[in-house]
Symmetry: C2
Subunit: 334 residues, 2 copies
Amino acid sequence: MRIGRAARSADATPRLVAVAPEGEGLVDLVTADVALSTRRGATHEAATRVAEAKFPGSLTTALDRGAGVLLEEASAALASFDERALIPLEEAVLLPPADPRVLRCCSAFEEHARNGFSRLGQSVPATFYEFPPYYKGSPASLIGHRAPVRWPGYTQSMDYELEFALVMGSRSTNLHPEDAASHIFGVTVMNDFSARDTQSLEAGQGLGPCKAKDFATALGPWITTLDELDIHDLPMIARVNGVEWSRGSSSTMTWLPEELVAYLAYGEELLPGDVIASGTVGNGCGLELGKELAPGDVVELEIGGIGTLTNQIGQPETSGWRPVPRRQFAGGTQ
Amino acid sequence: MRIGRAARSADATPRLVAVAPEGEGLVDLVTADVALSTRRGATHEAATRVAEAKFPGSLTTALDRGAGVLLEEASAALASFDERALIPLEEAVLLPPADPRVLRCCSAFEEHARNGFSRLGQSVPATFYEFPPYYKGSPASLIGHRAPVRWPGYTQSMDYELEFALVMGSRSTNLHPEDAASHIFGVTVMNDFSARDTQSLEAGQGLGPCKAKDFATALGPWITTLDELDIHDLPMIARVNGVEWSRGSSSTMTWLPEELVAYLAYGEELLPGDVIASGTVGNGCGLELGKELAPGDVVELEIGGIGTLTNQIGQPETSGWRPVPRRQFAGGTQ
C-alpha cells in the first residue's frame, strides 16, 4: 500500500490518504471509511466521528494505534471507496507523508562520504567504518511533494541530496539487525536540501549541521509499505530542470537499513512514525559533482517502487538577524 | 504562573497542571475547569468535554491555541480550584513540562566552552564567537523531575549538564533580538545528561552529538512564565548526592537568550512549545571538574525562580547491538 498525507486545498484539514489501486488519484481514508460505515447503517455523524479517530491527519498518531491496525482499516476503506473519496493527484496539496517525533539522518554510503570529504581535502574519518554516522534533522522543516523550498538569507550555496527514508511502524529499543525489519512501516523519498557554505561554518563548531539543513527537508510523495519493495536494491535518480544529475542504488550502502535501525535503537527508543534517512547515495548531490542549485531550479528525486518527489527552489530571503560577533573573554588562557 | 505536566499515577493520562498559589501542590487544570463550569450550570459531561479540549495533556497542543489564551483560561481555573483538583506534589508523577516538536541545545557560555575544549587539549573554535553554536536533541528522550536516567550499554562515562531552557509560546521566523522576548512562554530547568566517551567518538564523525545525548534529557519540574523571572540573572546550582558541584548564573552568557532565539529563528520557523536550551553554565558539568557520575547518583539542579530538578542515575544496560566495523572500500583513493 502507498500511504501519505494530503489536503484538498491549502487551507483544508490534512488527511491520511492512500494511492488508489489503479493510480487514479489519492483516496481520502476518512471519506472512504464514512461511506463504508453509512452503507452498513451508521449515521453520517457517527460514521465521521469514528473515521476521524481511525484516520487522524497525523501518521504518527495513526501509527500509535498499531501499524497492523492502520493497514487493515485502510485496506477495508480502500476496497470499496467511491468517487467522493477520490482526490485527483493534480489537485491534491501533498504534505510530508510522515510527521515524526524524531528525524534521524544517517550517512550510510561510503562513496558519498569519500566524495564529500575529498572536496574538503580530507579523507573519510576512521569512525565512519566503526559505527553509522548520523545527525538529527528538524521535523518542523519537513515539506511535501511540490512544496517550494525556502532559501534562507544566510546562504549562497544551495544543494540537494538524493536519499531514501525509512518510516518506523512500532516502538523499539536495543534491537538486533535481524529484528529490525518487523519495526519498519515503509519507505519514502527524501531530499535533504543543504546550505553548503553554512555547513562548512557549522562543521567548525563541532555540533553538527543545523542551519545548513533545517530550512527545508522534502519527504514524499508518499510511503510505500515495506512488503512492496526490496530496500536493498532501490534504484535512485535525481534530475535538475529535467536533466539527470545523479543515479545510484541502495545496493551500495555500507551500513544496511536494518543495521541503521538497530544502531539507532541502541540505548534509546525509536517511536512509531519516526523517520530514518539513508544518507546521500554516491554522487547523489551537487557537492560531489561540483555543481550548485539556483533559485527557481526544479529538483526531482525518483526512487523505483516509490515515486518521484519534486520541489522547486525559492528566491533568497533578505530578512533575519545576523549575529554580531563577540569578543573573546579577556581573561581567557586558551 | 508555573505550568507543568503531571499524572496522578504512572498509568494515568497526562494532564496540564499549575503550581497552586501557596505551593500546596499541583492543580489539575481539567478538574479545576470542570468544577468552575459545573458551578455555572454545565453538566459534568459537557464541562469535561470542553475542559479536556482547553487543557490537553500536551503543552504544545495547548500553546497552538495561543499562549495568552492558555494563561487566561488557566488563571480562571486556578482562581477557584477545590481539593479534588489538587495533586499533592509527593504523589504526582511529573512529566517533562514541555513536549516540543524541536529541541535545540545551544552552547552560549564561553566559560563552559573554554573548560571543555581545554580538557581535550584544544582552544575554543573562532566560530564560537561568530554565531551561537547549537545542536538538536531528541524530544523522545525527554524525562521529567524524579524520572530515572537510562544508562545505555555503550557508555562508561556519565555526566550531567546544568542548563536552563526557554519554552517558546508562539510561532516566529526571521526575528530580531528585541522582538524575541514576546515569543518566549517561560523557562525551565534542564539536565542534558551526556555520555562523554561516546561524545568524543561522535565528534570524530563531524555530525554532532547523538548517542552521547539521546538516552535521557531531563526537563522540569515545571515552567515559570517569563513575567516572573529575570532570565539575565538566574542563579544556577548543581548538587550530586547532596553535595554542591556547580554554581553559576545566566548573567555570564556570551550569547543572550534573546540572541539565541533570534538566531535560531533565522531562515526557519520556531513553533509554539519548542524548547531552546542555554547550554551548560561555566563549571556546570563533571567534565569541567574532572568528575564523573556513578550508577545510583542523585543529581539535583536548582535554578532560582523555577525550582529543583532531581533525577537518579540508573544501572548500566547490557543489551543492544554494537556495530560490526566495516572494511574500507578497496577501491578507495583517499
